[in-house]
Symmetry: none
Subunit: 215 residues, 4 copies
Amino acid sequence: MSESSLSSRRARRTAVRPARTGDKRERILDAAVRVFAKKGFHATRVSEIAKTAGVADGTIYLYFRSKDELLVSLFEDRVERLLRFLHTELPERATASDRLRRIIELQLGLLEGERDLAEVVTVIIRQSTKLMKEYAAPKFTAYLDAIARVVADGQATGELRDDLSPHLAARAIFGALDGITMTWALGKADRGGLVRASGQLAELVLRGLAPRSEA
Amino acid sequence: MSESSLSSRRARRTAVRPARTGDKRERILDAAVRVFAKKGFHATRVSEIAKTAGVADGTIYLYFRSKDELLVSLFEDRVERLLRFLHTELPERATASDRLRRIIELQLGLLEGERDLAEVVTVIIRQSTKLMKEYAAPKFTAYLDAIARVVADGQATGELRDDLSPHLAARAIFGALDGITMTWALGKADRGGLVRASGQLAELVLRGLAPRSEA
Amino acid sequence: MSESSLSSRRARRTAVRPARTGDKRERILDAAVRVFAKKGFHATRVSEIAKTAGVADGTIYLYFRSKDELLVSLFEDRVERLLRFLHTELPERATASDRLRRIIELQLGLLEGERDLAEVVTVIIRQSTKLMKEYAAPKFTAYLDAIARVVADGQATGELRDDLSPHLAARAIFGALDGITMTWALGKADRGGLVRASGQLAELVLRGLAPRSEA
Amino acid sequence: MSESSLSSRRARRTAVRPARTGDKRERILDAAVRVFAKKGFHATRVSEIAKTAGVADGTIYLYFRSKDELLVSLFEDRVERLLRFLHTELPERATASDRLRRIIELQLGLLEGERDLAEVVTVIIRQSTKLMKEYAAPKFTAYLDAIARVVADGQATGELRDDLSPHLAARAIFGALDGITMTWALGKADRGGLVRASGQLAELVLRGLAPRSEA
DNA sequence: AATGAATGAGTATTCATTCAT
DNA sequence: CATGAATGAATACTCATTCAT
């Protein structure tokens, strides 16, 4: 076993090479999450990402156009998973409540155990002004709209109170999710913390949106 | 006498030469809010703040130790107003619900009409990693604790449901406030938007925290 | 006298300061000629020019927009002197022969004793492709046209043979001047070499352009 | 057998496998002329030469030691043809005038129709400082000496005026040829332009070098 | 206090070259 | 011979900060 870690790595490289390109790209993204989370976007040196990933500085530019685009790719690769989940899972849920609960569970559940990624999503993404304004803004909007639609639908069926603006509710829910994630990531980031939080937040939100009569 | 150096410094600035010096310091802070909001922290050049403020580059360093500290000062000068308000006003409110409502009204009300400041508080502050980790974290914690205490008190008196963690509730409320402010600042930032939002958010939060029996 | 070199430098800086800005700009240009001639344009490091000029790297950018523009400025400051001389002196000469002789004397005479500048003018200027195509080309054309006009005038008065294209003659004269300067600069660059060459070249050119009847 | 390695290498390239190998080397040189002329030496990427030649980047290094040496090889392959011609043809010419005329015809005639090569020879070669100082200088000197010898011989026989330095005359002739070629290459590069120029330049030079009595 | 010219540390990115396949 | 993914050295330029005036 003494040779296991080294030789397996070499073997993978030399013989098996299961996904040479993908492998390297993946290693760079993994390294980027870790270093970005530790240092922040601007304080992160591309050379440190390279060192962490075990590749040469120049190699990063074979896979990503720039440091900014590396952050974008990180976002796309890791976060858009969430949006795909939502598109898949939400239609299966019968009620607006179930859908909102699922949104909350998914967003917090997917980041549980990924403290670095959570920090990137809640804090680091806002450090690249260019990114924030050009790339992230439309994504945020789309996500907010998706939540607002669920709320509006629930109001239409009478399942949810209709004296609140769906868009305002969506912003509040999104903010709560973001705030909970950020404080978790910047704080102790205890195992299970986000999952526990998701249950409580769902409680809070669903009661808050329940029609008076239902109470 | 142990406080002499600190207090004298404050005194000199605040009391003795209130006009001339305060004027310039204030102009620099005003310029900083505007430029930070427009360009983001890192893309902002100290020289541009100087030009906007109508002073020489070097003058900024007579009032602030560094660019980072300028952002800190901005935060302190403009935001700690909120904490002082809270400390003054909260004790006057009789119920936990009233206090929570007041927190929401204050945070959103104070930023209403100050779009640039709102952007600085919700976005720019996260762009200085050093600031975020060293300065802002304890402030956030203190603010969260203040909210959590209100919730806990309300639970103790039976005014609020007690099946939710006060700290989680505080993080959710804070996040909702932050998210609403951010989307407002980055979006249309319509007049009255934050005040309207505050009423709706209070509705949502207070219903969400109400005990089942009250329903 | 022990303090002479240091103190005089300081004195010049602190007290006299005859032309602070001009002084520094001039020192940079002087350094640039020397380093460009020694290393060539691309192999020259901006930091080496700075060191040679005794200023900080960044200072160069207070006076010149870029390394390319530094070379342009060099060209403008040092070489356009020649064009001004031509414009001043040529009209004073009565015959085309005198004017051609003056052109040859001026171009070679102004570079005599300035080996580095001669190398910059004949070799280095062609190393910045951007410069060559955007800046130098029109200057060359203008210069060639000026020479061609002198030749054409001489042909019109019968002073010069008229079976040669003035433009071709101009290109040949310019090329001869350039080639002589270049080989001198790259070779021994002996004192008086260019002045001696100018007399001989004038002989060659004027005889070559003389009308057959004059023979 | 002492020459085996060298000759066999040459043999292999020239005789045995004339098509495949020679083909590739030739394609690379052709591509290099085109790209160097278009972009200049430094702005030319080895990868672009490879793409233009239709080979892989690494393949270039099977034929040329470096980018600099590629330019040297270009010079050798394309330009030394001229020197060989001169060595073959000059002895056949009876008079110094005929030899000078032939030199002019050859240099301009060989570049007629090869605008890119003309630009490489007159401009690009000066962009590699290393090349210019280490490789080209001795070639220039040899060429200049060859011309000077023709002039000196003509002076010795009384065919040419003897009041001009043969070396100066050679530099002037070389410069004129170079200048005419460069302005042609950088300008319209019209068909027949260089051949026409060669007749006129020969006229100018030969008249300029003719002894007074002959006039 | 105020100025702004000068400083010089700091880094993303390019691209000639290599070498495992 | 040929490939092209990987390498990593190398550098122009910016801008926060200083300090002589």
